[in-house]
């Protein structure tokens, strides 16, 4: 009985596990640090986001969304266009920025 109560307490105390949602895009024209800086500034200004990541080498930008927040792919694409660049591919992924970074790192190691 005591063990059951401890397990129940641990389950209630642990945070609810849910995958983070991010918007990931491949950006044309993002070839320099100044370009990336402009895009990062635009993404960081979005209230729905809780973090932005720019991978200059792979021309990838990521916006991790706050829980229960959403941004349409069209709106996200327009933000990148407003920053002066073009989006060649955009998608929503059930991954956090930390997970996306880890995937990139793993893919580099696997090459």
């Amino acid at each position: 009985m005591k063990k059951t109560l401890i397990i129940l307490f641990c389950l209630l105390a642990s945070p609810i596990v849910s995958a983070a949602t991010s918007i990931k895009a491949e950006v044309n024209g993002m070839v320099c640090a100044f370009c990336a800086k402009g895009i990062q500034k635009k993404l960081n200004a979005m209230p729905e986001g809780q973090g932005a990541f720019v991978d200059l080498k792979r021309r990838i930008v990521v916006l991790e969304l706050k829980p229960a927040q959403d941004v349409s792919l069209d709106v996200f694409t327009q933000v990148i266009k407003d920053a002066g660049y073009a989006v060649s591919k955009v998608e929503k992924v059930e991954q956090s920025i930390v997970e996306i970074k880890a995937n990139i790192k793993a893919s580099i190691k696997g090459q």
């Binding site: 320099c32 990336a36 800086k37 402009g38 990062q40």
Partner: protein, 215 residues
């Protein structure tokens, strides 16, 4: 040739107005650019309300060998006429212009319109620029090309080193032809470039430092 350039300048202004619906921008950014060399010193500070337009102030000192210098102080406009975003490259056509006052060897109303084309990948860089530099009794119009390469590709949070070579020809100037090999370091908002103008001519050899900061 420079009359043709002026026509291009006027066309550029009109085309900017026609393209106002296609505004794209790194909005709300400030930029400080400086060039310090023996033959030319320049400082420009501007604010960009969008990627298509920036407004600012500029101080340019022309100091040819053996002649008293002229300092031009004025207001400056920079406009992006056209940008091409490619998968691994970007190309732009820019127009710039400043009007102000010249003091020194030449005095009075000064103006300096220019057009620039640049093409850049993560490893290669090319720029061509034509600029009129005018004041009463002074015509120092110039044309310059720059080419460069990066030693290696870097990530956003790393400093990227570049080798850049510039060739610049200036009317009624001494030296009229300047070649400057330079090492350029770029890190996010900063840009630092150190070069030596005409390194193979002992009488004209001079260091040059360029800095740029974007916020």
């Amino acid at each position: 040739m420079f009359k043709q350039l002026f026509v291009v300048f006027l066309l550029a202004v009109s085309s900017l107005q026609a393209q106002s619906a296609a505004l794209m921008g790194f909005e709300d950014s400030y930029m400080l650019m400086t060039e310090t060399g023996e033959y030319n010193q320049e400082m420009m500070f501007n604010y960009a309300p969008s990627i298509h337009h920036a407004f600012g102030i500029e101080v340019m000192r022309m100091s040819p060998k053996g002649t008293r210098a002229t300092t031009m102080t004025g207001i400056n406009y920079t406009g992006l006429i056209k940008r091409w975003n490619m998968p691994s490259a970007q190309a732009n056509i820019w127009m710039m212009g400043s009007v102000g006052e010249a003091r020194g060897m030449h005095n009075g109303f000064s103006y300096s319109p220019s057009v620039q084309f640049d093409y850049e990948t993560a490893r290669l860089y090319f720029l061509a620029k034509m600029r009129m530099v005018r004041a009463p009794g002074m015509i120092n119009d110039n044309a310059a090309i720059q080419g460069g390469f990066s030693f290696y590709e870097t990530d956003f949070d790393e400093t990227q080193p570049w080798f850049v070579l510039e060739a610049k020809a200036t009317k009624n100037y001494n030296p009229s032809f300047q070649v400057t090999p330079a090492l350029r370091l770029i890190h996010q908002s900063y840009f630092l470039e150190f070069g030596v103008t005409n390194p193979f001519d002992k009488s004209e050899r001079a260091p040059r430092l360029n800095l740029m900061f974007t916020y």
